[in-house]
């Protein structure tokens, strides 16, 4: 069999295993072991443990469980509610203010947490019922939280950017910096859409009222708050502002490497959560520990098994042939970028970000660089694609979270809700392609 045939067979077997519903980590592992057994010299099976150890023997990977435990600790407190409550009190009178407060909540939480589903769960747990109580449609409230949650992997810290940095040997510090402006800008676009959508809903409701259909339509309502009420929520935010500032300072002020910063963040978060939120009883701590252990193990196992999977691809020269084939395609750089994005979008429908990045980046990155794109910039584009994958059916981790928070909302409503945000994100990728400075300006500025 030639490389092409083996490559296709490998792809086919892997897809079957993945779609069989097996855990992604073990599906990748099974496929890799099978091909090692049938197509590679037997000694490769004798090296399994060493191969895995060699891949996991990586100081930077430690950032992943650390950032996860940080997010888990903060997620366990009422910090998310505080975040969003104070944002709301300062937003009043604007149409869609509650929705905007939710976007702000997601944005701030994203700066404290490296994963998207965690961001989604933390803000949505409170945000979705509140929005619905005040007349937001099911679609808008769930779509908004699903999309807002994805900011978790774009705004640093980000597990996705860590993995990308690891396998492309790009500086994680630089990648984190590169995510800041696009993250804030995307949050702004989400907020703008909420204001637009709420305004439209209010206008429709007004028209309905004028037509005499008083009981048919509910529109987003907003309350007003006095200055006193606005000021009194601020102290509750202080701990998190301090934590974010400490992390930012440590990262860009040169206190440590990414792993060290993650260590400081995790330690600081545990401390804050214990001192400020009095979360030190064994049952609370145990819940944080179990949640973090599970999430981090799930991701680390995918990473470990994906390493075996890509080792086989590389040994059988599937990666190299695919990369050569892609780099040699007779297409313009924009066409290449377009098809790469389409590929990522399709994969994103089914696979979680970690698996996609590990499996696909070695194949597409040579072509990206050959076409003159900046790998840091591409890391951000890739991450936005991964964000999209989190809210596209049939497999979207954020969609599952939403379903968990709001089980009575029909799937079709959630999907209707996320579509506008999907379009915004696709448009945003196009914007970054036209103005790459949105990504590269900050890392270059701090880098010189």
């Amino acid at each position: 069999m030639g490389t092409l045939e083996i490559g296709l067979l490998y792809l086919g077997v892997t897809l079957i295993l993945l779609f069989s519903g097996m855990p992604i980590a073990f599906a990748l592992g099974a496929s890799a072991l099978g091909f090692m057994y049938f197509f590679m010299p037997a000694m490769n099976l004798e090296l399994l443990a060493e191969t895995l150890y060699g891949e996991l023997d990586n100081f930077t990977l430690l950032t992943i469980p650390l950032f996860i435990i940080m997010g888990a600790a903060i997620g366990k407190t009422r910090a998310a509610v505080d975040l969003y409550e104070s944002a709301y009190r300062w937003m009043h009178k604007m149409p869609g203010s509650l929705g905007v407060a939710n976007v702000i909540g997601c944005t701030v939480f994203a700066a404290l947490c490296g994963s998207s589903p965690a961001t989604c769960a933390a803000i949505g747990g409170m945000g979705i019922p509140e929005m619905r109580k005040r007349g937001y449609s099911d679609a808008l409230s769930t779509g908004l939280i699903a999309a807002g949650g994805t900011l978790g992997i774009l705004i640093p810290p980000s597990i996705t950017l860590i993995i990308y940095g690891l396998i492309t040997e790009q500086s994680i510090g630089k990648l984190f910096l590169a995510g800041v402006i696009p993250g804030l800008l995307l949050a702004l676009l989400f907020a703008a859409y909420v204001v637009y959508s709420a305004t439209r809903q209010i206008r429709r409701a007004d028209a309905a009222v004028a037509a005499g259909e008083t009981d048919a339509v509910i529109a987003p309502m907003a309350e007003t708050y006095s200055w006193r009420e606005r000021l009194e929520v601020l102290p509750r935010l202080l701990p998190f502002v301090i934590l974010i500032v400490v992390i930012m300072y440590a990262m860009y002020g040169g206190l440590g490497t990414p792993s060290e910063i993650a260590g400081i963040g995790a330690f600081g978060a545990m401390l804050l959560v214990a001192l400020v939120y009095k979360c030190y009883r064994w049952m609370d701590v145990r819940a944080i520990f179990l949640g973090a252990a599970k999430e981090s193990c799930m991701i680390m196992m995918i990473i470990a098994m994906a390493f075996l999977f890509t080792y086989v691809m590389s040994y059988l020269r599937i990666t190299q042939s695919a990369a050569e084939w892609m780099a040699a395609l007779e297409m313009s750089k924009w066409a290449y970028l377009f098809w790469v994005n389409v590929l990522l979008l399709v994969l994103g429908c089914f696979l979680p970000p970690v698996a996609i990045i590990l499996m696909v980046t070695p194949m597409i990155l040579p072509g990206i660089i050959a076409n003159g794109f900046d790998p840091i910039w591409f890391g951000i584009v890739l991450t936005i694609n991964m964000e999209l994958g989190l809210i596209t059916p049939p497999v979207g981790l954020n969609l599952f979270v939403i379903k968990g928070i709001s089980p009575e909302t029909r799937n079709s409503e959630i999907l209707r809700g996320v579509i506008p945000f999907i379009l915004i994100m696709i448009g945003f990728i196009a914007l970054l392609a036209v103005f790459p400075e949105i990504v590269t300006w900050l890392p270059n500025k701090i880098g010189s």
């Binding site: 510090g173 002020g253 206190l255 440590g256 490497t257 590389s314 040994y315 070695p362 880098g447």
Partner: protein, 313 residues
């Protein structure tokens, strides 16, 4: 059908005279052997650790999963302590002296140890290195006092610790950022890496290997013994000859990088210093009291091996 030999290494690929010479060494070897064996042996080269991670390469050769690699031998120091000689500070004094190991008793001893573990040395390659630093040039041991420095290997760390340096272990991919942000004040590594990491953008000083250096790394082209044994005697002869022929190429390219290091750093506004004999002597004295001493104590026949290495003129 031709026999396919897989070469894996951790250095960047690419062709042209600017590309990493360690990759070009692998390519040259492959082309020449393929030509001389009339295509009986074919090669697949995996640069940038795209097949096996740097630390896994040696055992991959031991089991036969990998045929060849270009590898800093001291990576195996935890399993084969003798290989630490390949990155022992101030032990090798020049490229020429290092190459003479090959025919001296020390070379035989090292080859025997490695071969006993199932791997053959095909091309003897030494590579010099230097120090990039931010505040001041690190030329003498006293310059390292209180400096946050990355030695990059066990024995370098021991010596720098002895000089009063604050050893900071970070992955090589983070060196640039660490120096930029001040996590690191100085980094010690090969001239080639000091160039490819673009540290001249963040460092103000560099100490080159143009005159002397305490940093010589043994980075041979290796072949799995099982692969070597599976070749015909004629093929074995070609492999050995081509491997030996490339030693001169490797030395010249490595020296070029030492010179280029000074030039590129100077061009980017950093100050390039050289290490005079007196400074080198101080480092050597320090190394004897720290890393050499530790090696002699911890490794069986350690002192004997050090003596053999020093006996090479």
């Amino acid at each position: 059908a031709p026999k396919v030999i897989k070469i894996s290494h951790q250095f960047p690929g690419g062709d042209g005279p600017e590309a990493d010479f360690r990759h070009r060494l692998a390519v040259k070897f492959a082309q020449e052997v393929e030509k001389r064996t009339n295509g009986e042996l074919k090669f697949q080269i995996y640069p940038s650790a795209s097949l096996v991670k740097p630390t896994g390469q040696f055992s991959a050769m031991q089991t036969g999963a990998l045929d060849m690699t270009v590898l800093p031998l001291a990576y195996e120091g935890g399993k084969i302590p003798e290989t630490n000689l390949g990155l022992m500070p101030a032990l090798v004094t020049s490229y020429e002296q290092g190459l003479r190991w090959k025919t001296a008793p020390i070379g035989k001893a090292l080859s025997d140890v490695v071969e006993g573990k199932g791997v053959k040395i095909i091309t003897w390659v030494w590579q010099a290195g230097g120090v990039a630093s931010k505040e001041k040039a690190i030329v003498e041991p006293s310059d390292a006092k209180g400096i946050k420095i990355r030695g990059g290997s066990k024995d370098m760390d021991l010596m720098l610790k002895g000089a009063g340096g604050s050893i900071t272990n970070i992955p090589s991919s983070e060196i640039y950022n660490a120096m930029q942000t001040g996590v690191l004040d100085a980094a010690v590594t090969s001239s080639t890496s000091l160039l490819s990491f673009r540290l001249y953008e963040v460092a103000k000083h560099v100490t080159t290997a143009r005159k002397n250096t305490f940093w010589f790394m043994f980075e041979p082209l290796l072949m799995a013994k099982s692969t070597y044994d599976s070749l015909t005697p004629a093929q074995q002869k070609i492999v050995t000859e081509v491997g030996a022929d490339l030693e001169k190429f490797a030395m010249e390219e490595s020296k070029k990088d030492d010179v280029r290091l000074g030039e590129v750093y100077a061009k980017n506004g950093a100050q390039a210093s050289d290490m005079d004999d007196a400074a080198f002597a101080k480092w050597r004295e320090l190394a004897k009291q720290t890393s050499w001493k530790n090696f002699a104590e911890k490794v069986k026949n350690g002192q004997q091996l050090l003596d053999m290495a020093q006996a090479v003129k």
